[in-house]
């Protein structure tokens, strides 16, 4: 495992179900992502893209193989230790935003900071919201925001604890083209500024091309696909 790799996956296998209904999703997948790199994961539906992202986020444990993020062996961590590690070191952006509907934009962004017992969570959350251009919408509830605004709040929430790694699952999948482009710009810019490692799952090749590197998941394995614009 390369010492300088922020993310390292070695020969990961994962099967859902048992017996006749068993489906092997990962079949010896391996991957190294150096710190600060942006990586796009592409592949057909059902190829295991999201599963790979979940394994990287510690949300799913491989049946065998090794996964290490920021030097931490995720396979060896307990459920609660994984949760704490995720809160500290990872930000996740979902296709469906997954904001908590009973909390305002500000409170949604503040939650991970509060969970990590960070000092001045509201002030820092407000700064993150300002960074995504939503300072004036801080007191709005998710239902009062547009799709693009909700995803910007979700990005602010993911970035707020200053994680080493940002995982994004089809972050523009539920947005129109123009809004999607805005969101992608925002995400790439933030990662660049903060030196964060970005792993992005997407069907959208134009979006993938903005990353430094593109891999393709097929039949549970990972293959290098292309070098993106950001590598230039």
């Amino acid at each position: 495992m390369a010492d300088e790799a922020m993310i390292a996956v070695r020969d990961a296998w994962l099967t859902y179900g048992r017996g006749a209904s068993a489906v092997s999703v990962l079949r010896g997948a391996s991957l190294d992502v150096p710190a600060g790199q942006s990586l796009a994961v592409t592949g057909p539906s059902g190829s295991g893209k999201s599963t790979l992202l979940m394994v990287l986020g510690g949300l799913e444990r491989p049946d065998r193989g090794a996964v290490s993020v920021a030097g931490e062996n995720l396979v060896a961590l307990s459920e609660d230790a994984l949760t704490a590690f995720r809160g500290r070191s990872m930000g996740i952006v979902f296709q469906s935003f997954h904001l908590i509907p009973t909390m305002t934009a500000l409170e949604n962004v503040a939650v991970p900071l509060e969970l990590a017992h960070a000092p001045a969570p509201r002030e820092r959350a407000l700064a993150e919201l300002a960074a995504v251009g939503l300072a004036d919408r801080a007191d709005h509830y998710p239902a009062e925001l547009s799709g693009g605004e909700q995803q910007r709040v979700a990005i602010a929430r993911a970035l707020a604890p200053r994680p080493a790694v940002l995982l994004a699952d089809e972050p523009t999948g539920n947005l129109d083209e123009a809004t999607g482009a805005e969101i992608a710009d925002l995400m790439f810019a933030s990662c660049r500024e903060r030196g964060q490692t970005l792993v992005l799952v997407t069907h959208d090749m134009a979006l993938a091309a903005q990353c430094a590197r593109i891999v393709r998941v097929s039949e549970g394995r990972i293959a290098e696909f292309a070098v993106g614009e950001a590598a230039a």
Partner: protein, 846 residues
């Protein structure tokens, strides 16, 4: 503020949607318990606060058969102001002899009442109206309104009372000490005390209770003085045989009854909480299912499982607090509302306030119920994984059993059970209830599992309706457990109460004609006994007349242990107050000696007595034990020589104790008689006989058994109505739970209905399937309810009330019909809308 509380408060911004059934269930159960206990506390407070008025003094010394001696009177008068009151049952009749009424007669002196105020409807002063009349003038009497209704008399009319004429001089509006008497078998009639003698009602051995009430001359006697008085009275007159009561325990029997009744209603309230608990669990489960995404998000953002659990636990506690608050407000309103209805019956002065103790108890019950039923479904929050955010995983996966939640649920239930037992008046009864409730709960869970397993194992039916109905019963998320549990529980209670009530009434009324006497006659003087027997034989030649000497006596000690120190048992009432006693040479016809031997015909060598075997067993006395009894101010000792069976339910003359004739040789006494018509007697026959006897023997008190039983039945009926009202709340709770469950499954129902309609199912087919499903569920719950109800009712009737138990199919069948009707009606109301949905509109939104 702790983070869990912060997150919980944010989550609750979503409002109370989905929690109305939860809130209603908790409010209903808590409210019932708060109301019942507040009422009981208030009434007990009232009795204590008005203790002096109810007792008629700071202390009361009561004697039966005899008046206080000059020395005893002097002792009392030296210690305060004394008022004498005499009470007895007597016959009043119209002057034309057409109508008569058994009355609760009370003779009062000029000092009555020492405490409280007696008033007449006319507003005149009682003492002025009851001023003793000159010789030859009718005796003035004030009466309760029901006396006027029974006799058809009006104020100013004359009537016969014993051997004198009396005149209705007023109608009683308030009698402050009325509660110190027992159950009233007739209306109150009050006369000057001297009139009793003139009326010939104070004969030898007459059942007159003389009460000497004593009050401090300069305000109420202090507690020390009261204690000293009781002690000195005991020392000065150790054999007086008087019963001494003080204002602190003015109506102990009534207090006991209120406590016992409150406990019974509390248990019914607890059942309604338990039924509501099912609703709590359902609401929590449905809420967490809706919150799965939020929980997954929190987990993804780094929230540990225990924080998520704490967040939702705090919400449930806060919601329970709202439900409890509503229940407490309702419970707190009950006493003042009840005061309006009970003002004529009970001391209600204590009801116009809030009872923190009762409310705290109810709140604790509510909170423990909410926690006990919420922890288990809350544990599923642990099972929600952040990966749910990446894909729709369908229903939450079954989480492994987490033993700490099992322990926490068990702990909350154990606390609930411990509280129910600890706070109960009769802990043994409460413990039985807790055990029975747990057994019913567990059995219902098993029944639900069996229904599901049975439905799954059934062969595929050829009928679409049957196939759909059966599939609905065993599919995941089916209504089966909820319907079985909530409806089964409330029906068990309903069937139990119906059967107990039915059996009680059956015992009281329906067995009468064949075995019971038509009349009891009291206070037949020795001198008139033969004439009385001859007259009755002439008036009713076919009837059987039995007479028995009748004295009143009080057990003072057993084997040297004073009655008040004897261990408390179910039969302790035998030791409290006076009992009717008799003597006889021969064993009564309907009795059988089970232990020891009856005395020989020539009489025993010493004083002997025969004790009723069932009560002896409960009291813990047996052959060879020595009973010391006070009769007519004289204490005698007798040895129990045998125990005999007594058939109490035949209502013939039965005594707990029968003495050998030598014990009371020469003691003055009156006689008691029963008259039994073979095969019973008609109303007119009885009334005609009553007229004749009252006219010929005006000082003999005739009690018509049917009327007396109607009075008792009336009291029982009132109690049963109150219990039924409380049980109805349980049924309401179960309807709420069912409605809540159906509402929660509404979306799935619409989905099913729309898909099936799209695939060509007709509305009739769907209605048929749903009806069949609810019929099966309601029917099973009903069958279980009847089975468990019969077992519970049989236990209560046979073991606790000592009645013969008979299965009453009508009561049980009505419960079954009710259950099925509720299940089908609620189910169809819920699905009707589902059937009306336009498939296209729903499909677009799926």
């Amino acid at each position: 503020m702790p983070l869990a509380l912060v997150l919980a408060l944010r989550e609750m911004r979503g409002g109370l949607r989905g929690f109305y059934v939860f809130l209603a269930c908790i409010a209903l159960g808590t409210g019932t318990i708060a109301a019942v206990n507040s009422l009981a506390f208030g009434l007990t407070d009232g009795i204590r606060a008005e203790g002096q008025a109810i007792l008629g003094g700071d202390a009361a010394f009561s004697l039966i058969h005899r008046q206080a001696s000059a020395e005893e009177r002097a002792f009392l008068e030296a210690r305060g102001a004394v008022s004498t009151v005499a009470t007895l049952r007597a016959m009043a009749r119209t002057l034309d002899g057409e109508r008569q009424s058994l009355v609760e007669l009370k003779g009062i002196d000029g000092a009555y009442p020492l405490y409280g105020a007696a008033s007449l409807r006319s507003g005149e002063a009682l003492q002025a109206v009851l001023a003793p009349a000159p010789e030859g003038e009718p005796v003035p009497a004030v009466v309760e309104p029901s006396f006027l209704e029974t006799t058809g008399l009006a104020v100013g009319d004359d009537f016969a009372l014993g051997r004198v004429e009396a005149r209705v001089a007023g109608v009683i509006a308030r009698e402050p000490d009325r509660l110190s008497g027992g159950i009233a078998f007739g209306p109150r009639v009050m006369v000057p005390i001297g009139a009793l003698e003139r009326a010939g009602l104070v004969g030898v051995g007459s059942l007159v209770r003389w009460r000497y009430r004593l009050a401090g001359r300069d305000g109420p006697l202090p507690d020390d003085a009261l204690k000293a008085l009781v002690r000195e009275a005991g020392e000065a007159f150790p054999s007086a045989g008087w019963r001494i009561e003080t204002r602190t325990e003015a109506a102990p029997g009534l207090e006991r009854s209120i406590d016992r009744f409150a406990q019974f209603l509390t248990l019914v309230g607890l059942t309604s909480l338990a039924v509501g608990g099912v609703g709590v669990a359902n609401a929590v489960r449905a809420y967490l299912a809706r919150k799965r995404q939020t929980i997954a998000t929190l987990r993804a953002l780094g929230a540990p499982g225990r924080l998520v659990f704490a967040t939702y636990f705090v919400q449930i506690v806060l919601l329970a607090a709202i439900g409890i608050a509503v229940g407490l407000v309702l419970g707190a309103l009950a006493p003042p509302l009840a005061a309006a209805f009970l003002a004529d019956l009970l001391p209600v002065s204590g009801l116009m306030r809030v009872f923190p103790g009762a409310l705290a108890l109810a709140a604790l019950y509510g909170l423990l119920t909410a926690v006990a039923f919420a922890i288990w479904p809350l544990a599923s929050a642990y099972a929600v994984r952040p990966s749910a955010l990446f894909r729709d995983e369908g229903p939450a996966p079954k989480s492994p059993i987490r033993w700490r939640f099992v322990a926490a649920t068990g702990g909350a239930i154990a606390l609930l059970a411990a509280l129910a037992v600890a706070a109960a008046y009769d802990r043994w009864l409460a413990a039985i209830y807790v055990g029975a409730a747990a057994a019913v709960f567990l059995t219902l869970r098993v029944v639900a599992l069996l229904i599901v397993a049975g439905a799954r194992a059934l062969p595929r039916s050829g009928s679409t309706v049957v196939r759909l109905a059966i599939a609905n019963i065993h599919r995941r998320g089916a209504l089966t457990p909820t319907v079985t549990l909530s409806l089964g529980l409330s029906l068990t209670l309903l069937v139990t109460l119906s059967l107990v009530d039915g059996n009680l009434r059956r015992t009281l009324l329906s067995r009468l004609p064949a075995e019971a006497p038509s009349f009891f006659f009291l206070d037949i003087q020795d001198s008139e006994r033969d004439a009385f027997a001859a007259a009755l034989t002439a008036l009713a030649p076919t009837a059987e007349l039995r007479t028995q000497p009748m004295l009143r006596g009080r057990i003072v000690a057993i084997n040297g242990t004073r009655s008040e120190d004897w261990p408390d048992t179910e039969a302790s009432w035998v030791l409290r107050g006076d009992r009717g006693i008799t003597y006889d040479q021969a064993l009564p016809a309907n009795s059988e000696v089970v232990t020891g031997a009856w005395w020989p015909p020539e009489g025993p060598a010493g004083n002997e007595l025969s004790f009723a075997s069932d009560l002896a067993g409960e009291l813990g006395v047996g052959v060879g034990d020595v009973v010391r009894i006070n009769v007519l101010g004289r204490e005698v000792e007798a040895t129990i020589s045998n125990l005999r069976t007594v058939e109490w339910e035949t209502l013939s003359i039965n005594f707990v104790m029968i003495f050998s004739p030598n014990v009371f040789a020469g003691a003055p006494h009156a006689h008691l008689a029963t008259l039994t018509f073979p095969g019973g007697a008609g109303e007119e026959q009885e009334l005609a006989l009553l007229r004749e006897v009252s006219a010929e023997f005006p000082t003999v008190t005739a009690i018509r058994v049917k009327e007396a039983l109607e009075t008792v039945n009336g009291v029982v009926q009132d109690l049963v109505t109150a219990i039924r009202a409380a049980a109805a709340l349980t049924l309401i709770a179960s309807v709420l739970v069912l409605a809540g469950t159906l509402a929660a499954s509404h979306r799935a129902r619409i989905y099913d209905a729309v898909i099936l309609k799209t695939l060509g199912a007709r509305r009739r087919t769907l209605i048929g399937a749903y009806t069949l499903e609810y019929l099966i569920l309601g029917g099973t719950a009903a069958l279980f309810g009847v089975g468990a109800g019969v077992v519970a009712a049989r236990f209560i009737a046979v073991e606790l009330m000592e009645l013969e138990f008979v299965f009453l199919p009508l009561a049980a069948l009505s419960a079954v019909a009710l259950a099925v009707a509720i299940a089908v009606a609620l189910g169809l109301v819920g699905t009707w809308r589902a059937l009306g949905e336009q498939p296209a509109r729903v499909l677009r939104n799926l």
